[in-house]
């Protein structure tokens, strides 16, 4: 059996990032906020970021390498989980499906594809630097 003492913690692992990867930044209320290096994002999967004001954003990339950020809060359940949904494309629109009750949200404009009366906030994203 594995020994627990030899097991690195998630925190250590998360902070060892490749130096030559560009940084992804989100435009928050106080300007551009560096969030992580681009190689931490894998196409089709999101991560969550904590913004200075305490709100949460969900960050994604698609296969073409484009990054998107929307609010992390699933408006149907209130849980901060959208970053953990699966992404996809429907009629050309990139979306994430909530992992809880599966409603889909457009990554570009935050609109819910299954109920247009509901939407989540979106954030501007840019990548800077890197080799």
């Amino acid at each position: 059996m594995t020994t627990a003492t030899a097991t690195p913690t998630a925190t250590e692992a998360a902070t060892t990032a490749a130096a030559d990867s560009p940084t992804v930044e989100i435009l928050g209320p106080d300007g551009w906020l560096p969030v992580c290096t681009l190689d931490r994002l894998s196409p089709g999967r999101g991560v969550a970021a904590l913004l200075p004001d305490g709100t949460q954003a969900a960050l994604f990339t698609d296969r073409a390498g484009r990054a998107y950020a929307i609010g992390n809060r699933d408006p149907f359940t209130g849980a901060q989980v959208l970053s953990r949904g699966l992404t996809g494309t429907a009629t050309g629109r990139p979306y994430v499906a909530s992992p809880l009750l599966k409603q889909r949200f457009d990554l570009a404009n935050g609109e819910c594809l299954d109920d247009p009366s509901v939407s989540v906030p979106t954030y501007s994203v840019r990548t800077r630097g890197g080799a």
């Binding site: 690195p8 998360a14 904590l50 004001d53 494309t89």
Partner: protein, 880 residues
């Protein structure tokens, strides 16, 4: 209108329509009134004797196969409110005063009417045999009857049905379904005497007997005998013989419920039934109508079927709305028996009573198939009887009355025995009635597709009502809708999702044969053109991820599901190897094979739960679930569990869940094999196996079945000679008992068969299709599966076994693998930019000495703000 004062329910200025009886026909009548706008101009009051609104009596027996009383309801939830209809449940009408035009109900409620409609249906006829009122005698008409039968059947072993007609056979089917030894006693020389002829009766009898029902024809029940406690003990038959039985269901026909009408002087027929004219109005009183089974139609018949009743409802509603109607002058009495496993249908002039009628008969006594068509001298199809194979019913019934496009012989010969019959619904004329229950023609169904843009069968059902009655036309309806869609250029799409035109089984073959272990490559090479450049979707990604995982060793993929591209395909639960809960926290379920656990391991689970403040619960799967872990705590929790020798329980995966066990031979006085050892062995063998849906199993040490193996995807029950293997069981929303696949297997035979069975299922099932649904769907059902996995009819078994061997060989614990690799651990943080910070939205409040999610934090449009600085990093392990 004279405003006669009534004691409890005042007349309004609008005319009042009172409906007595809220059965199938009554509800149809209300709908017909609403469609014609009458509910807006009139007050409508309904007196309903039963404690619940109208339900589908035709499908009554499906209550025993799991359909709930709510699902049987015929009334849309807000129907009464929307149309302002006053419905009085459980309050039957007791008297009608035609002079004062009032009806008084049992509760004392008196309602004045301008128009009165009787839809009181029928009552079951109970022959006047001595002992008929003993405890344990029942009739079969209402949900309440079924509830009583079900309750009584729990404590007895044998049941007898008096009457071998359509309903009697349904009741007999229900009794066998309840696990009773069942007899049917029919006075006529054959079963279903009204519908089928002697040849059909003989074939039907064989099929019914094959289902385990004992059939007695040509005898009647003479006396019901009862014990001292007044409960049924048996039945004396007219031939002097005796039948031991614990309960009796009378199904000897029905009689119109016309007593109310008799009491107020309305005319009734000699053998019952309220006399009505072609508009369903009583000749003696123009304010009164009668519809459905209580009415004696103007052709002198009382109809015991729902379709004619619906026609009467429409006719009466049109007459009340002062619209033109063709009137009701008679109807078709075709029937198809819905009994599971027996195909029987009769339609049109089934007995060849018409002048010059000729028979065309096909009979195969060995196979229990009998088909007869009645044809006129000019070739017109007049009617027929089908037993054992009623496949052609959907086609033949609408052809009745016309000269079929092919010769009658070809219509009754089994497929392959004669010239191929290219006779689909396309051959039918537009005015052919496809759905008898709702009188829907082929033309109307085509119109639903072409004019009302319906694109699926459920849409067409909703739009036309076709197929929503007895259901016997659904097959014809489906092929008609598909034909029509194809003709209008719509390709009937069986594809998995918007990205792939293939079914899951087809994608499995593509991955297997091309050894294509990359989702991106699969999408690029096999995706729909419009989806090839996209990001796929949340339906196909996990499905393909699961296919790759189950085939991993043999297609050269990594068995670990979270590496590289595979990681991005998994649903969130698999992605974090835990189950997401409603507040964003996760649950942890360590594997406890067979439910057996040492005290030391129990203590570790207790300590981990205590240290991390997790809510702890014993699951229904004989293991322990720890709830309320934040994503960043999962590795810490698991490193302690792995250290203590626990592995992932895959509660998160479409994979093997648990193999439950009973204590078995080692301790139990009844046990005949070591069920615990077997359960542990099976759980360890199949752990980690990814499949189209979750897989559950159980092993019981004897036929008492304490482990509930027959409710599982594969269940094993010990016998004194070995093991019986059952497959296709399911609990959940649509429970199903597993079917016996093979008996008295040795240890090795059992494992070999399960290997093959599981791999064949994984290969051919649809996404999210449990083994139960799969077994019911695939062509040939259980017999086919048995042929493939027991008799190797497809020559697949070696390959299936090799795939399973590879799985067993390559299995590694997902959590141990994850903990050993920093890259794999990187995902277990709440925030990518603040890996130390716990998610502030995941909070708990106390409940019964443990925790529960604090949902108040999640409510409202925005969350209470907590700044980055105020969020304290995790200290140690006990975060709460």
């Amino acid at each position: 209108m004279a405003a006669a004062a009534s004691p409890t329910s005042a007349r309004t200025d609008r005319p009042t329509i009172v409906l007595i009886g809220h059965g199938m026909v009554g509800q149809r009548f209300l709908e017909a009134l609403a469609e014609r706008g009458v509910t807006e101009t009139s007050r409508v009051v309904v007196l309903c004797e039963e404690p619940r609104p109208a339900y589908d009596r035709v499908q009554l027996t499906s209550y025993f196969s799991g359909r709930s009383a709510e699902e049987l309801s015929l009334v849309e939830r807000d129907f009464m409110d929307r149309h302002g209809i006053e419905l009085h449940l459980g309050d039957p009408a007791e008297t009608i005063d035609r002079a004062a035009r009032t009806v008084t109900a049992r509760s004392g409620l008196t309602v004045g009417y301008d128009t009165l409609v009787l839809a009181t249906g029928s009552y079951p006829f109970v022959p006047p045999v001595p002992g008929k009122d003993s405890t344990g005698c029942f009739v079969y008409r209402t949900i309440e009857d079924l509830l009583a039968i079900e309750e009584y059947a729990k404590n007895v072993t044998t049941g007898a049905v008096v009457g071998g007609g359509l309903l009697g056979l349904e009741a007999a089917g229900a009794l066998t379904g309840l696990g009773l030894r069942t007899h049917v006693v029919e006075f006529a020389p054959r079963l279903m005497p009204v519908q089928v002829d002697d040849g059909g009766g003989a074939a039907l009898r064989r099929t019914i007997e094959d289902m385990g029902v004992t059939v007695h024809t040509g005898v009647g029940g003479k006396e019901i005998t009862a014990g001292e406690d007044g409960a049924v003990t048996g039945m004396e038959l007219s031939d002097g013989s005796r039948l031991d039985t614990d309960m009796v269901i009378f199904s000897a026909g029905v009689r119109p419920r016309d007593q109310l009408a008799r009491d107020c002087g309305l005319e009734v027929g000699e053998r019952g039934g309220i006399v009505v004219d072609a508009t369903c109005r009583t000749p003696g009183d123009t304010a009164v109508y009668a519809i459905g089974e209580c009415a004696l139609a103007c052709d002198g018949r009382v109809y015991g079927l729902v379709a004619p009743g619906y026609e009467m409802a429409d006719t009466a509603a049109a007459a009340i709305a002062e619209q033109d109607t063709d009137g009701f002058t008679g109807a078709d009495t075709s029937t198809k028996l819905k009994l599971l496993g027996v195909d029987v249908a009769s339609f049109g002039d089934a007995h060849g009573a018409s002048e010059g009628a000729l028979d065309v008969v096909y009979c195969d006594s060995r196979a229990g198939v009998y088909k007869k068509l009645v044809v006129g001298a000019d070739g017109t199809l007049l009617g027929g009887v089908l037993v054992g194979d009623a496949e052609a019913y959907g086609m033949l019934r609408p052809l009745t009355g016309s000269v079929p496009p092919v010769s009658p012989e070809q219509l009754v010969l089994p497929a392959g025995a004669g010239a191929p019959v290219a006779l689909g619904p396309s051959a039918l004329p537009d005015d052919a009635v496809i759905c008898n229950c709702h009188n829907v023609t082929k033309g109307t169904i085509r119109g639903a597709v072409t004019e009302h843009s319906c694109t699926t069968v459920p849409e067409v059902k909703k739009c036309t009502k076709a197929g929503t009655g007895c259901g016997s036309c659904v097959k014809a309806l489906t092929s008609l809708v598909n034909d029509e869609l194809e003709a209008s250029g719509v390709i009937v799409d069986k594809g998995l999702c918007g990205c792939f035109p293939h079914t899951r089984a087809e994608l499995y073959e593509v991955v297997r044969t091309l050894r294509l272990a990359s989702y991106e490559e699969l999408l690029a090479s096999h995706g729909r053109p419009e989806a090839r450049d996209g990001d796929g979707c949340e339906i196909c990604k996990p499905a393909v991820g699961s296919i790759i995982a189950s085939l991993a060793p043999s297609v050269g993929a990594d068995g670990y599901i979270l590496d590289g591209e595979q990681a991005a395909l998994q649903d969130t639960n698999d992605h974090f190897l835990a189950n997401l809960q409603r507040n964003g926290s996760y649950s942890v379920v360590p594997r406890i094979p067979g439910g057996e656990i040492t005290p030391e391991k129990l203590i570790v689970i207790g300590e981990v739960a205590r240290d991390f403040g997790l809510y702890t619960k014993i699951t229904g799967g004989q293991r322990i679930d720890l709830f309320g872990a934040r994503v960043d705590q999962l590795p810490l929790i698991w490193s302690r569990l792995v250290d203590a020798g626990f592995e992932s329980g895959h509660a998160y995966g479409k994979a093997l869940r648990t193999v439950k066990s009973c204590v078995g031979q080692t301790w139990c006085r009844y046990g005949v094999q070591d069920s615990v050892r077997m359960a542990i062995q099976l759980e360890l063998r199949y752990r980690g196996l990814r499949s189209p849906h979750k897989l559950k199993s159980a092993v019981s040490g004897c036929a008492r079945e304490c482990a509930e193996a027959r409710g599982k995807d594969f269940g094993v029950i010990a016998t004194s000679n070995g093991w019986n293997l059952y497959v296709g069981g399911n609990g959940g929303a649509d429970p199903r008992h597993a079917d016996l696949l093979a008996q008295d297997l040795s240890h090795a035979e059992l494992i070999r068969l399960i290997d093959r069975f599981l791999m064949f299922y994984i290969r051919t099932a649809d996404r999210l299709e449990r083994t139960s649904a799969w077994l019911e769907r695939i062509d040939g059902g259980l017999d086919h599966v048995r042929d493939v996995v027991v008799h190797d009819s497809l020559g697949l078994c070696d390959e299936l076994e090799a795939l399973m061997a590879a799985h067993v060989h390559h299995y590694r614990d997902e959590w141990a693998e994850t903990l050993n690799d920093p890259e794999r651990l990187a995902r277990f943080v709440s925030f990518v930019n603040a890996p130390e910070a716990p998610d502030p939205s995941v909070r708990f409040t106390p409940e019964r000495d443990q925790i529960k999610p604090d949902l108040t934090l999640l409510a409202g449009p925005t969350l209470p703000v907590r700044t980055l600085e105020s969020v304290r990093p995790l200290e140690g392990t006990s975060a709460r």
